[in-house]
């Protein structure tokens, strides 16, 4: 794998994806072997909007590789507040660190920032755009539980606004998965995303009800439907209620169905699912650490 920056899951070939996931599996199997791998490395964290979980995951990954992090802190206390451009900020901070992680509320910010720096930069979310490490940890979880061969996956919930979903769908196309999208009509995949997936040769089908496809699924990826997408509370409750699952719902599923969710959840997966063997969403979140360790290690020259 040779990428200076990780901006979008779309830039990754199937070979790249397998390389990262294989490396993540090696790390997960024996994390101690990698504990001093990057003891001189400093990772700069530039979070222009709060995302405590993602920041903790990157911090953990860098420290588990023996390195350390420097954190810009909150935007309120930084030069950004004084009107500094993003291009200037990253050019200053790259001088302090060996690699950068950027989270920013505007689309395209990570790509632009990467054009101004020489150290590797990882996009940790750019507005409604890309979040490639989320996609990679999703893929890792899918591969560990169901494998990519003959994979049939259902993605349910808010498919219109969810960047996690769009990015994952592209990556699943790269690994030739059969994809089913389950959502209310008002929250179906945007036309541009559907168009791109078709162009890329994706096998996709759309449904408004989970029942008709649930028994065929190897993986069910659930996302949250947000109240602000609806004109009023009662309509939201009615629609969202049709896309919630509990242990009873899953009685119709394959025994080895894997249920995933990017978290945090609200009530789209009932707590009684947690006790079933289907539930993998906490493990999915944990997988963010070995996957980010693998990515950082590869970007920092660990494969040499």
């Amino acid at each position: 794998m040779r990428h200076d920056h990780i901006i979008s899951a779309k830039q990754l070939s199937r070979g790249d994806i397998e390389t990262v996931l294989d490396h993540a599996a090696d790390i997960a199997a024996d994390p101690g072997a990698f504990a001093d791998r990057h003891s001189d490395t400093l990772l700069g964290l530039l979070f222009f909007e709060p995302s405590t979980r993602t920041k903790m995951s990157f911090t953990t990954a860098m420290k588990r590789l023996g390195g350390d992090i420097v954190d810009m802190g909150s935007v309120e206390s930084s030069s950004v507040k004084k009107g500094e451009s993003l291009a200037d900020t990253v050019r200053v901070v790259e001088g302090y660190t060996d690699a950068l992680v950027l989270r920013h509320p505007m689309e395209g910010s990570a790509k632009m920032a990467s054009e101004f720096v020489d150290v590797p930069l990882v996009n940790a979310g750019d507005g409604a755009g890309q979040h490639p490490t989320q996609t990679l940890l999703d893929l890792y979880t899918i591969r560990e539980n169901a494998g990519f061969d003959d994979l049939t996956i259902g993605i349910m919930g808010d498919l219109k606004y969810g960047r996690t979903v769009h990015s994952l769908a592209h990556a699943l196309t790269t690994v030739d998965a059969s994809q089913h999208f389950i959502s209310p009509e008002s929250l179906q995949l945007p036309r541009s995303v559907r168009y791109d997936l078709h162009e890329a040769g994706a096998g996709i089908r759309e449904h408004t009800e989970l029942d008709e496809i649930l028994p065929e699924l190897d993986v069910l990826y659930v996302t949250r439907i947000q109240a602000e997408r609806f004109p009023d509370e009662s309509e939201y409750r009615e629609v969202a209620g049709q896309y919630q699952i509990d242990a009873d719902t899953l009685a119709a599923a394959k025994d080895d169905l894997t249920v995933m969710h990017p978290l945090p959840r609200v009530d789209e997966i009932a707590h009684d699912v947690d006790e079933t063997t289907h539930a993998q969403y906490f493990q999915q979140a944990h997988n963010g650490v070995p996957v980010r360790m693998a990515l950082l290690d590869l970007m920092l020259g660990g494969d040499q």
Binding site: P105, E107, G108, K111, M112, G129
Partner: protein, 155 residues
């Protein structure tokens, strides 16, 4: 009447560029996309909605004293794909050409996504990949399919 006869209605230029066969009504957008707004003192003449055998109606733009490069004129393909370019020296046409679709246009269009980083005060030009049925922002992936002239950046 042929196109050639119609051209005579606009005064001949001594040195410069004639952009002919612009789709009727697009002349001002052509000037905008080329960043010609009269402030540099260029002498510019515009003829709009001339009858044309090929296009029905066409616009013609003549820029005195300035020879446009192929890169400069190629962006016109987005709004005037049939345009022809004549470079004039001493009243003679010394070079004839057409516009070719570029693979990328930079600093010409404004991204319609207000949450795109290129719309902020950053030291970066907008950049769009040109596809078969539209252009796509290389930063945020937003696609513009229709009404490209409405997205031409104000200089």
């Amino acid at each position: 009447m042929s196109d050639k006869d119609q051209q005579l209605r606009v005064s001949k230029i001594q040195n410069g560029t004639v952009i002919d066969h612009i789709a009727g009504g697009q002349a001002l957008n052509v000037l905008a996309i080329l960043g010609i707004d009269g402030t540099s003192g260029d002498s510019v003449s515009v003829a709009m909605n001339m009858p044309s055998d090929r296009l029905g109606h066409k616009d013609v733009v003549k820029v005195e004293g300035r020879e446009l490069s192929q890169d400069e004129v190629d962006v016109l393909s987005l709004i005037a794909p049939a345009a022809t370019i004549n470079i004039i020296r001493d009243y003679d046409v010394v070079e004839k050409g057409r516009v070719e679709r570029p693979s990328v246009v930079e600093g010409v269009l404004e991204c319609p996504n207000h949450n795109c980083i290129t719309t902020e005060n950053e030291p970066v030009d907008s950049r769009f990949a040109v596809g078969d049925d539209g252009v796509r922002c290389e930063y945020c992936d937003t696609i513009i399919r229709d009404d490209l002239p409405a997205h031409i950046l104000a200089e």
